[in-house]
Amino acid sequence: MKAFYSLLAACALMLAACSDNKPVELYNTKAALPSSPKYNLDGLKVITSFVNKTKGTASTLYGNDLALKAAIEGNKIIAAKEVFTLVTWKQQDDDHWFGAKIPSDVESVEVIKTASSGNNVAVNYEQLEGRNLDLKTDTSGQAERIKYILGQKPSVLP
């Protein structure tokens, strides 16, 4: 009987050794965007996506319908109620494909919102930084970032 149990134990060990113990990774947890009242991607569409190989970053520019329409028209006229959101991630190698890079830690979320203000349209810009999405208080360079984001040509999505 003892021999039988030893044999059983040996078989169990062998089976365990043969089973694939590689944990199955299902989500890109590093790149996950924290939920925050400071921004909202729900209902926004993809305007374009780009990477910076020097900095090793990947970005996706989202927009509401008005923003997408304006971007396709070259953002020549800035109207009210447009929302642009540019999310930038660090990149990481894709474990599933040698030859690919995928997003990693969130670097920044930049939000542009336009609103009518009297006869004009006010353009509000906010930059949220890092995983905690801390509001960047240094406002220098904002005009440049607005110009950069509004200058992005939409991706062809036929």
């Binding site: 694939d20 989500y27 569409k45 993809v46 996506s49 599933h96 040509k153 062809v156 036929p158």
Partner: protein, 303 residues
């Protein structure tokens, strides 16, 4: 005795495994070639080297069928029949099949131990492929092609009246662009940028941790554009290349891993594979190493 006679008898039931002429062999540096020959050539070339133990029926039947399928999918002896871009794609796909452990077939290396790809071998192959990657600003031709396509699209001239349908019955789904992106990819192996969109069912499944397996009705659309690198180092989406769909239905698509596969190329949405439904074999072969992840490469980003 009867068993033995039967065993001897079936030895004469032999499918033919000829070695057709080599039309144009793989051309790579000698060290790379040596590894590929050792690990792949028995099934992926016209220079199959059958050992005596491969020729014993019934093992031989399996061997013969592996060689037939292997050559049909990838044949290094008829390398010249592939366009340069397809050759490159095949090499990157091959190394990824090796990395994932899908190739060489474990059942094959169990007997032909010399065909195993060691970590050092893999390093040689990786270095060779990495050396073929070049980053340079887009040339005028690429910029002009992208501009021309953009202008057509911007004026809504790419709108399609009748939805093109792939040979397996899957039609192009124009609504994909209104779905949520679940990830993006920079593919430096083939100079494309990609956005992977998920329909409402897919996005809900991600939020609810219900993607293993993915629920029926989940659809992905993976869009690929040529890379267009500007002088500042930013790489933008250039020409639209294709949109690919994976549609989950474990009953309807039971014979193709539970997914319906389709690829539509150019803004005209030309179905890949034409009238030949066998194109799905290509999709399945490439996705097979992801069986434990329900055949999905993309790791979705939650938000």
């Amino acid at each position: 005795m009867i068993l033995f006679l039967g065993f001897v008898g079936i030895q004469f039931v032999r499918p033919d495994v000829p070695n057709p002429p080599v039309t144009g062999d793989l051309e790579v540096p000698a060290d790379v070639k040596a590894i590929v020959q050792r690990a792949c050539y028995d099934c992926h070339s016209n220079n199959t080297n059958l050992r005596w133990y491969d020729k014993i029926v019934p093992v031989y039947w399996g061997v013969a069928s592996h060689i037939k399928d292997g050559r049909a999918d990838l044949n290094f002896s008829e390398w010249n029949k592939l366009a340069p871009a397809d050759q490159k794609a095949k090499l990157w796909e091959s190394i990824n099949q090796i990395i994932s452990g899908a190739m060489p077939l474990p059942s094959y290396t169990a007997v032909h131990t010399e065909a195993k790809v060691s970590p050092a071998d893999l390093g040689v192959l990786k270095n060779y492929l990495a050396s073929m990657v070049h980053n340079k600003p887009a040339d005028t031709a690429a910029i002009n092609a992208a501009d021309k396509q953009y202008q057509h699209w911007e004026k809504n001239e790419t709108a399609i009246a009748k939805l093109p349908t792939a040979a397996n019955g899957i039609a192009y789904i124009p609504d994909y662009k209104n779905w949520q992106p679940i990830s993006t990819t920079e593919r430096f192996d083939n100079n494309t940028l990609r956005v992977i969109f998920g329909n409402d069912i897919a996005v809900k499944a991600i939020k609810e941790n219900n993607i293993h397996p993915w629920p029926n009705g989940a659809i992905f659309a993976k869009v690929a554009w040529a890379q267009l690198q500007d002088k500042d180092g930013t790489t933008h989406t250039g020409e639209f290349k294709q949109v690919e769909y994976m549609i989950k239905d474990d009953k309807k698509y039971a014979s193709t891993y539970g997914w319906g596969w389709a690829r539509f190329k150019t803004p005209k949405m030309v179905p890949y594979g034409g009238a030949n439904v066998l194109f799905t074999n290509e999709c399945m072969n490439c996705h097979k190493p992801m069986a434990a992840e329900d055949f999905v490469f993309t790791l979705p980003i939650k938000h």
